[in-house]
């Protein structure tokens, strides 16, 4: 039966003949591991296409919906984070394998006559890869993609004469908006894949016509006489390589938790724009092209490099494929390569050293985690940015500026009557307070408490213990807490400060559950309560705040501390667990039902 069906199909389609033609390629000189890169790229392209198609069924290309749909894919959909991670790291893998492929072809001299068009179509394919990377980066419409792509479209704008028009055509207008997404989406999922398939077809057809280019030392008669069939000899090696690539990719995705998603794109923000790693060298190059020379980095150097690659088979006409006979070309290609590597490393080095950049990154991470947290409750149809409109921290900031900032300085702004709230509630802030309560950052002359004269390490222990009484301390160190507890309870602190019972009153504020939500709430409502400052209090009581205003203010105060994790707020629904570096347990999120 099956046989008959097979025969029927064969008779009508000639399928097995076609397969035979496709697979029966003679590999002159024998199947080799050095030929695996091309097929590895075909595999990766298929993987990108498959993951891309599945992601497309979750993605919504509009400036209000894109971030939310990617958020859903990443944090809600079963295996969404994994498939997106494969696609994200798959693009990097394609770049890596494509460059390896190019070097293999170059070193083997496989671009030489009669394979010039093989090489040129390959260079075009490499450009398409870059195009995929560039267009795909924007699609999540998060801060990272938005700001990095701004740089890219502005670079388009520097092209003489037509730059302005190219830029507007890509952006779909004079500024970023819905049409930027729809156009990048169209490029990424229709135009580029179709063009890539077209050139890939040419590339493979030409390869089939001319066959492999064996190792340059291989003798003519060996090439002629040692012939392996493509199937299974070469395909086996290709399959092993593909499996290896996939294993590595899956490992990286598991290990990193997949691709990151930054906070929704905010045109009003000040985000650090950095491109994907394979564009970093171009980015770094621009730092050295100042003023009118910008065009050297954006257009002239890249165009010259590209032109060199395209004409390479025509200027290297020497028939010999021995590297020793092609030294100038080796020098040219490898120095270009080395230049790109050095620029990439420089870019990474600069960023890893610059304190402003590190701070900005930390801020962005906080913002991203906050956005993910808020999005769990649903994103209003007005767009992903509106999740912040109902954010207690945003509201709390407003309350702080209206009611607190007049006395409490924050980052250099505000009054000086009360303690400075820069980094309020952090380890550093507590240590400073313990060291010198009379400091102008703290209680000034009204500070009654004597300085704690202990080494810094012990002060840190005490801070760790005091802060451990409220939830959300990042990287809490149990040993420090123990030592700090010892110091606080057995030292002089408890002479004035009650500890352990919330309602006890002594001369100084009760430190039970110090800086926790309840403590702050009670304190703000009535700082003159005998369990706080009593008669020595100078701060007005803010008993007119509603519960939600007070909650918002406290969330905001928490956010001032760099040592506090806002993500683990107790109001969370408990449905979604977000970690800064998402790890394997994300899977557990996927199957949990709605609450």
């Amino acid at each position: 039966m099956a046989n008959k069906l097979g025969e029927w199909i064969e008779d009508r389609t000639g399928l097995s003949k076609l397969l035979k033609v496709m697979l029966d390629e003679p590999v002159h000189g024998g199947a080799k591991w050095s030929y695996i890169f091309g097929s590895g790229l075909v595999f990766l392209f298929i993987l990108q296409a498959a993951t891309g198609i599945f992601m497309a069924s979750y993605y919504s290309p509009s400036s209000t919906a894109a971030w939310g749909s990617v958020y859903y894919l990443q944090h809600k959909a079963s295996f969404g984070w994994f498939v997106r991670g494969l696609h994200h790291f798959g693009s990097s893998a394609m770049m890596v394998v494509a460059i390896a492929h190019m070097f293999q072809v170059f070193i083997f001299g496989a671009y030489k006559k009669p394979r010039e068009l093989n090489w040129i179509s390959g260079v075009i394919l490499l450009l398409f890869l870059a195009g995929f990377g560039l267009t795909g980066y924007l699609l999540p419409w998060d801060q990272k993609g938005y700001w990095a792509t701004q740089v890219a479209t502005n670079i388009m704008g520097t092209v003489p004469l037509i730059g302005k028009y190219i830029k507007i055509l890509h952006q779909g207008g004079s500024d970023y908006g819905n049409f930027t997404i729809t156009r990048f989406y169209t490029l990424h999922v229709f135009l580029l894949p179709l063009s890539l398939i077209f050139f890939l077809f040419i590339h493979i057809a030409l390869f089939r016509k001319h066959g492999v280019t064996p190792y340059w030392k291989m003798k003519e008669d060996v090439i002629r006489n040692h012939v392996d069939p493509f199937w299974p000899d070469q395909i086996f090696k290709d399959v092993v390589f593909a499996l290896g690539i996939y294993a590595v990719l899956a490992g990286i995705v598991f290990w990193t938790g997949g691709a990151e998603l930054q906070a929704p794109a905010d045109p009003a923000s000040n985000y650090l724009a950095r491109p994907e790693w394979y564009f970093l060298f171009l980015f770094e190059l621009l730092k050295y092209c100042q003023g009118n020379y910008l065009i050297v980095g954006t257009v002239i150097i890249p165009t010259l490099a590209l032109a060199f690659l395209i004409v390479l088979p025509f200027i290297d006409r020497n028939i010999s494929r021995y590297p020793s006979k092609r030294i100038p070309f080796f020098v040219a290609i490898f120095s270009g390569w080395a230049g790109a590597v050095v620029l990439t490393l420089l870019a990474m080095h600069h960023d890893s050293k610059d304190i402003h950049i590190i701070q900005q990154r930390e801020e962005a991470e906080k913002q991203a985690a906050r956005a993910i947290k808020l999005a769990d409750k649903g994103i209003p149809p007005t767009g992903a940015l509106s999740i912040f409109l109902h954010d207690p921290i945003t509201l709390g900031e407003k309350i702080f500026k209206e009611s607190c900032n007049g006395c409490h300085m924050l980052r250099g702004e505000g009054g000086e009557n009360g303690p400075d709230f820069t980094n309020f509630g952090s380890r550093e802030w507590i240590v400073g307070l313990l060291k010198n309560p009379k400091d102008k950052k703290y209680f000034k002359e009204s500070g009654m408490m004597p300085p704690v004269k202990l080494p810094d390490e012990s002060l840190l222990d005490m801070a760790e213990f005091l802060l451990s009484q409220s939830a959300g301390l990042i990287n809490q160190n149990a040993e420090r807490v123990e030592r700090g507890k010892e110091l606080v309870l057995k030292g002089n602190c408890v002479v004035c400060h009650p500890m352990g019972n919330k309602d006890l009153k002594k001369m100084a504020p009760n430190l039970t559950e110090y800086l926790s939500e309840t403590w702050l709430k009670e304190f703000i409502r009535n700082p003159a309560d005998p369990k706080f400052y009593g008669t020595r209090n100078k701060m007005p009581a803010f008993d007119k705040f509603t519960d939600s205003q007070l909650d918002a203010l406290i969330q905001y105060l928490f956010s001032l501390s760099k040592d506090r994790d806002l993500v683990s707020e107790k109001q969370g629904t408990g449905r979604q667990r977000y970690v800064f570096i998402p790890t394997f347990p994300q899977i557990s999120v996927n199957f949990k039902g709605k609450s």
Binding site: Y72, P232, F236, L243
Partner: protein
């Protein structure tokens, strides 16, 4: 010898290729069938607040809109009117919440103030205050909803007809 080697390569390629295809297909299928595993469009509340108990006069049914929010994948739509219900507060302060649709063919029923009965304008169904059929074609009494009173607020489970 050479044939054995090729046979091995063929089997190995098939098996490794199969493993690879399965490894790729599994997460893709998992992602594809996500809507089967998890609700993607749903109301955010099981019990929806209809208002304070005092808002409802004793013994007179009151028609009121049911307003709640809906999650649609990543979006939340707040303040959506999902439909309306008849609310009747009884003398013992217990509450009946009836569907506004006639159990006959779904027409919207009215409250006849004079008759003190629910009247269906389509085919003449008549129900008493407790929702029982008095006359006409309806096969059963009015559909109602599970309700509860919490902190003096009337809550209704709009997901399920009783």
């Amino acid at each position: 010898m050479e044939n054995n080697r090729r046979r091995f390569l063929k089997i190995a390629s098939h098996s490794l290729g199969g493993i690879l295809a399965a490894g790729i297909a599994a997460p893709l299928v998992g992602l594809g069938i996500h809507p089967l595993l998890k609700e993607t469009v749903y109301g955010t509340e099981d019990f929806i607040n209809l208002g304070k108990l005092e808002d409802f006069p004793v013994g007179v049914p009151k028609k009121i809109n049911v307003t709640s929010s809906k999650m649609d994948a990543w979006n939340v739509f707040e303040g959506l009117v999902m439909g309306s219900v008849w609310v009747l507060r009884k003398e013992d302060n217990s509450i009946n919440v009836f569907s506004v649709n006639c159990p006959h063919l779904g027409c919207g029923i009215n409250w006849g103030e004079e008759e003190k009965q629910f009247l269906c304008p389509c085919h003449g169904g008549v129900f008493d205050m407790s929702g029982k059929v008095i006359s006409g074609p309806p096969p059963r009494g009015l559909y109602s909803y599970d309700t509860k009173i919490q902190n003096n607020s009337v809550l209704v489970n709009y997901n399920k007809l009783i």
